[in-house]
Amino acid sequence: MYDMKALYQAESVQDAVALRLKHPEAQIIAGGSDVLVQMREGKRAGAELISVYGLDALRGVSLEADGTLRIGSLTSFSHITRDPLIQKYVNVLGEAVDQVGGPQIRNIGTIGGNTCNGVTSADSASTLFAYDATVELTGQDGVRRVPIQEFYIRAGKVDIRAGELQTAILISRESYEHTFGHYIKYAMRSAMDIATLGTSVNVRLSDDKKYVERARVAFGVAGPIPLRAETAEKTAAGARLSAELAEAFGAAVREDIHPRDSWRAARDFRMHIAVESAKRAFAEAVRLAGGEL
């Protein structure tokens, strides 16, 4: 039994918003794989919870009229991985969230919960950063859209205002079209782990597959919140494909990342792995895009 003060179950998004306003101290619970664990640890013991788990309207992936990919915030990781639209347009996101925890966690865990946590190690976050995703928040006054890079404020803190609920994650067509991505989760074991480092790279190649038109790379656990490595992106943009380019791309991430020392891993180790992971993820993304290094 959980030490919760009260449980409010939202019947609809509007109801959730109303509950948020009525109980400003209450914590939103989506799948619960983080919130319930923290409650049991004592960190959130005695808290009030607003459960949005029953809001089926927030589940599923769809394509909007302008080609924007819309992922309902309560879509579970396993459903994202299996979704045909995800597989077609941002397969790397499906692959990334297929490395969260284990199968049961991927059935309960939601992309909304994963991002609202504000933790840097979230397996979905680096790929969403690398695709310039937008976060949709619904509140009393309607919908507000925030670029994911602004949504993350600091470790554990995201831009959700009083009365708001995250309702979707959006990826624009411009962002995903003709791109191929690869995610490398660096962890201490092959399942049931959190990332020591998450590296997500996607590239768009020129029509002749000889040049990089655009490359993006984002990391989890290379700073207090997920981040992009723009120096590396600039290094690759417009460059001719070569093995040296992959090396240079990897080396350039050093300019932008700032991992810290913790008992989980040392800064220099994370730095080393980031360089190698960026290089490898870039090479794989290029391969997927039909290019040769």
């Binding site: 660096y186 201490m188 074991r189 399942a191 049931m192 959190i194 040392a266 220099d268 080393h272």
Partner: protein
Amino acid sequence: MSKSVGKSVARVDAYEKATGRAKYMDDLCDRSALVVKICHAAIAHGYVRSIDTAQAETVPGVVRVLTCFDVPNLPFPTAGHPWSTDPAHQDVADRLLLNRHVRYFGDEVAVVIAEDEVAAMQGVRALKVTYDELPFVLDVQKAMEDGAPQIHEEFPNNILKHTDLRKGDYQKAILEPGLIRVEGWYDTPTVQHCHIENHGCFAYMDAGRMVVVSSTQIPHIVRRVVGQALGLPWGKVRLIKPYIGGGFGNKQDALYEPLCAWCSTMVGGRLVKLECTREETFVSNRVRHAIRTHIISYVRPDGTLVARKFEAFSNQGAYASHGHGVVAKGMGAFPQLYPCDNLECDCWSVFTNRPAAGAMRGYGIPQAMFAGESHIDDICKAVGMVPLEFRRKNLMPVGYVDGFSKNELYTDTFNQCMDKGMAAIDYERKLREYQNQTGPVRKGIGLAVFWYNTAVWPISLESSSCRMVLNQDGSLQFQTGETEIGQGCDTAYSQMVADAVGVPLRDVHVVSSQDTDVTPFGTGAYASRQTYIGGFSIAQTAAALRERILEIAHEQTRMPVSNLDLADGQIVRKSDGRVLKSLGDLATESLYSLENSQHITAETTAQIKSNAYSFGCSFVEVEVDIPMCKVKLLHMVNVHDCGRLINPALAEAQVHGGMSMAIGYGLSEELKFDEETGRPLNNNLLDYKLSTFMDHPTLEVGFVENPEPTSPFGTKALGEPPACSGAPAIRNAILNATGVAIDCCPITPHVLYRQFKEAGLITD
């Protein structure tokens, strides 16, 4: 006589476990139980100055709050060792139910008893504990320094015990010209057993006696310890062991049974339950001793060992628990595995402010093998010998007899096991193939052997008792004090009983649960002893039962006993093989006889004054991704000689589990502590890296079956041996792949990063 022994019959408890019907501790506890939650110290060392319980007592649902100021001053030992009537050989009694002197981060300082777990935890969080803090020490050698924090007053320099072993003249022998000196330090980590069922127990008073139902490996020993801790005569305590979800040595200690029983007495004998959380299991049960080992070997260029020095520093943690026995066992293996004429060996068990270290699968041998077998490959590298050839030359020879235990190596076990392992992994071809590799990803092959001896004689008592009760239908129940905790002894015993009595396996019913009120005495599951030791009492009791049966058969059939046999549940006339009657008919006639009613039973105690070596080896093939600092296991083979296999399929399964534990030990598992506070950092199953389904290669198992001559069933240790040689084999495979001699386990990416950098394989 063997009809059942040697066959891979299904576990006797398979149906119950496959359906979820098997009842473990919590399944048996009535829902009316009060819940006990422990307040654990939030400092690593110091004294509790005060505990303000006022607020906790107002929490709705809280029934009673008890603190370290309330407990009886009755120090008790916790180790799951047989009691010794000689005070000099008794375990160190350094425990109280709750502690004012806090010796590790997580020590028990108070309990809250409440109507449900939420109220109990709210009560715990509402306690206000103040401490007088003292400096603490986590490192084993720092704890031995003068001026180090003193953890137990009666043990200067925190040394629980030091023992040594000398042979020949080391100092003189090393003067021989031309010797090659090889020196190494090898560190092994603090790890935890991680049985999937946490330890827990419930207790209540019944007819003036204390009844405890516990997830334990050692019911008869825990009964004694509960008596000692509460100041109760041992007969006033009844201990019941239901199905157990794994133990691996952690439950070979009295854990929270004494505290739970005491809590019951403090609420009028009501039913109380104390279930450990996973976080508590990691820190406040027992852990494996982290041992730092220093070895120096002097070797002739031809690979002859001339003189060797061995020093082991065993991190005992906060309490004595199993104490010095663990590192001493490891040191005992050193001169035997590779006999050498000149030796200086020392080992120390040292208190630190870490969780108490106790028994864990292998009992000092995984640590000793990691150090010893890593060192052997370091010698091979120094003298330029193939690791397998060095072992063939130097390992314990056939006919070796240990002077203390009188154990003898009767057969060419090591070579037989290594031959089998080599063939399975294609050792020679791969060794050639993996020479002179370059590039970022390299493969390697390695091996390690292990030494293990079965059971605890002659250090401690070895005895086993068995009872058999014949039913009217010719089937029988049997009980032993030895305990099924998942390893499969109930099944192996059933097979032994069937053959030893002469009945079909289907007519043998094991009483799986131990209840100290009704189960004959036995010391429990540890030291890989049960199949060996239990075999003696089963053979002896079966013989006694057969004697009674044949005596009655003589009365009923008028044939002389010498012409009668019991085979496959039938009374047979030996001279012509005719079946005279079924055992069922005999039993029914005997029980309901109006002249001479007999309930046919037998019960005997066997004391065992022998012991048996159980040897084997591991072969491992790895792929090392140098830039990523990652090791992938490609192939792993264990080969064991545990004598005759009682149940080959269960034996193989048990080896898989040990190999898995060795993989974690070698590559990923380590309980970590904050150097600033002594706080455990990763006491949960997410941050503590138990290997998962995806971290394993296919596990291959081979057996060499040399029947053990001292055992009635030709068997010897298998429970612990599979966990002993895997980690050094992994380490040696990495050495083969990269040329880097790793000095510790687990060999995590952090370790590889550091050592690859030092070796120049990685440049940042």
